[in-house]
């Protein structure tokens, strides 16, 4: 089976993101591959069998994209594609991005399944997969927690409220995987070295063939401005040291619970 896996570079969340005067996140941060996207690559590798392949593709800042794609190659992806496009702005990223990725998929062709992560850990949008499926008119499944090849069908299990749903789908299809679907393999020294030297292809999305202009306008024009603000400050906590002998902390804790009306 041939998989096309969309992967995103996200900033590592070890430090609080800094904002510029326009309320945009500074781009200078340390970035890495969005964790769940590694699981999407792993799912692709497991489906590949002996005659399959895994292509990783990513859109974004050129430097971050290149390092993320090399991370994907180091895991064992067979081909990497950097996607560029002038069709997107900061605002339209939210909704239009999936359509641009769909167009890139159309140009690339040669896939049986398109895989994405369920959501990116930075913007938790979770909409890229559905947009790709919408633009390419393919079936879409999200929160997929198990995926196996069954003849030319894919059997899936997805997480649902209070349970699981099992089904199967014909291919091609678009599938967004959960962060518990598998354990991603670690790159070996050898695959890392190969990934370092591998060529990275590019696809430029200059115009859309997968969607008419009116629909694109409706999607891409929905958000007209976008900014970030810091979360509201929480007042500093009252912190005490526990001393079992005096029990003072427990008395104070009891008083606190009473103040909160739960005793």
């Amino acid at each position: 089976m041939k998989s096309l896996v969309f992967i995103k570079s996200v900033r590592k969340l070890n430090a609080d993101p800094q904002l510029d005067a326009q309320g945009q996140v500074n781009a200078d941060a340390d970035v890495g591959i969005n964790y769940v996207d590694k699981l999407a690559i792993e799912a692709g590798l497991q489906l590949a069998g002996t005659d399959g392949s895994v292509t990783v593709a990513s859109y974004g800042d050129p430097q971050a994209t290149e390092s993320t794609l090399r991370d994907g190659l180091a895991m064992g992806a067979t081909k990497a594609v950097a996607i560029t496009s002038d069709l997107l702005t900061d605002q339209s990223n939210q909704v239009g991005l999936g359509v641009v990725l769909a167009e890139a998929a159309q140009q690339l062709g040669d896939y049986d399944v398109i895989l994405t992560g369920d959501q990116a850990k930075d913007d938790v949008q979770g909409c890229v997969g559905l947009r790709i499926a919408d633009a390419l008119q393919l079936p879409y499944f999200d929160r997929v927690n198990q995926l196996t090849l069954n003849g030319d069908q894919l059997d899936y299990q997805l997480l649902w409220e209070h349970g699981n749903v099992n089904g199967s789908t014909a291919t091609p299809a678009v599938i967004s995987v959960t962060d518990t679907i598998n354990k991603p393999r670690l790159p070996s020294f050898k695959t890392k070295m190969t990934a370092k030297r591998a060529a990275i292809d590019t696809v430029d999305v200059a115009k859309l063939t997968v969607m008419d202009a009116a629909t694109w306008k409706k999607l891409n024009g929905a958000v007209v401005a976008q900014r970030f603000v810091p979360k509201p400050e929480r007042p500093a906590a009252k912190i005490v040291n526990y001393d079992q002998g005096s029990g003072a902390a427990i008395d104070e804790l009891m008083a606190t619970l009473q103040q909160q009306n739960i005793l």
Binding site: D16, P17, D142, H162, V165, G167, A249, L257
Partner: protein, 325 residues
């Protein structure tokens, strides 16, 4: 504000916890003075009408077919899409639980309309609405201004809504019943419910949650006792769940549940953002941890630096004596 009507999508499946009133309250709090229309999908109309006709809505469209079940995602999405295709609309609101979100995504694809997820607040701006969501692990808020009158589907993070908000417009709801006759074929899927089909964690007023610092299943027995004593629910970090000390239905955070209790007690939890994204909207946070520098103290109101087991044991012994207040 908008010329085209707004809609709320209410999925009245008796098999799943009904969060629809929370969504109505969310809409009333956030879209003040707007006429709110709702489309209810339900197996039969009586109960649906009874549940929502006094809820302060403007118009209630009840779509019924006997086979309706939320879990038939494609079928459910098709009924909603068909309805919305026939109605000029601006913003359409959905709940934020897993199932409803999956359905909202399929509706967005069928209608080719934008979907924004996890919206937790809305403000009116000149030409329309600005919606807000929590991003970067809850460290930032993202504010998005929507094009005026544009159709946009939103899934709404209703966990923080104040359930006491009452209807501002008490005009009687106009009810339109519509039996769906051309129900699309059901999805050929098989749904397996987990054993713990009903759980109270998401609605609990008090959550007592433990992490690696509870050391093992025995620590969680203590926390369960504390939760029982405080009429609350037990929660856990992923580490505790992965270790098998507690069931996975207790997991709170990015992969688990989002809770917004009045009081959240975190014992032996470090405060990784993947955990705190699921609890940082709690109204009052109490943290107990041996490490004075644990991140969890940054979002606590009250903290005790000490051994979780010892603190909880002593607290339980005090709680045995009935409190008179």
């Amino acid at each position: 504000m908008t010329e085209r009507p707004m809609y709320l999508v209410l999925l009245a499946d008796p098999a799943f916890t009904d969060k629809n009133l929370n969504l109505i309250h969310f809409a009333q709090e956030n879209f003040k003075d707007q006429a709110l229309n709702a489309v209810v999908v339900a197996p039969a109309s009586d109960a649906a009408v009874a549940a929502y006709e006094q809820a302060g809505l403007n118009e209630l469209d009840v779509l019924t077919y006997a086979q309706f079940s939320k879990v038939k995602v494609a079928q459910t999405a098709a009924s909603i899409s068909e309805f919305l295709t026939g109605q000029s609309h601006s913003v359409v609101l959905f709940g934020n639980d897993f199932g409803t979100t999956s359905i909202a995504k399929q509706v967005a694809a069928k209608l080719h309309e934008p979907l924004l997820t996890h919206i937790n607040a809305v403000t009116a701006v000149d030409a329309g609405w600005q919606v807000q969501k929590r991003v970067y692990g809850g460290n930032l808020l993202q504010q998005l201004t929507l094009a005026s009158d544009a159709p946009v589907l939103l899934t709404c993070d209703v966990a923080g809504v104040d359930e006491t908000v009452s209807a501002t417009t008490s005009a009687a709801t106009v009810v339109k019943n519509q039996a769906v006759t051309d129900v699309v074929a059901a999805d050929d899927v098989d749904y397996q419910a987990l054993q713990t089909a009903v759980d109270q964690l998401e609605d609990a007023k008090v959550v007592v949650a433990g992490g690696r610092g509870m050391q093992g299943p025995d620590g969680f027995k203590l926390l369960q006792q504390l939760a029982d004593r405080l009429h609350g629910s037990l929660g856990a970090s992923r580490v505790a769940v992965d270790a098998g000390w507690v069931g996975k239905e207790t997991m709170i955070g990015m992969t688990g549940k989002t809770v917004v209790p009045d009081v959240y007690i975190a014992v032996g939890i470090s405060g990784a953002f993947q955990h705190t994204i699921g609890m940082d909207q709690s109204k009052y946070v109490i943290a107990i941890n041996t490490d004075p520098d644990a991140a969890i103290f940054k979002l606590a109101n009250y903290g005790i630096v000490g051994d979780g087991e010892a603190v909880v044991k002593q607290l339980l012994s005090k709680l045995k004596t009935p409190v008179t207040s």
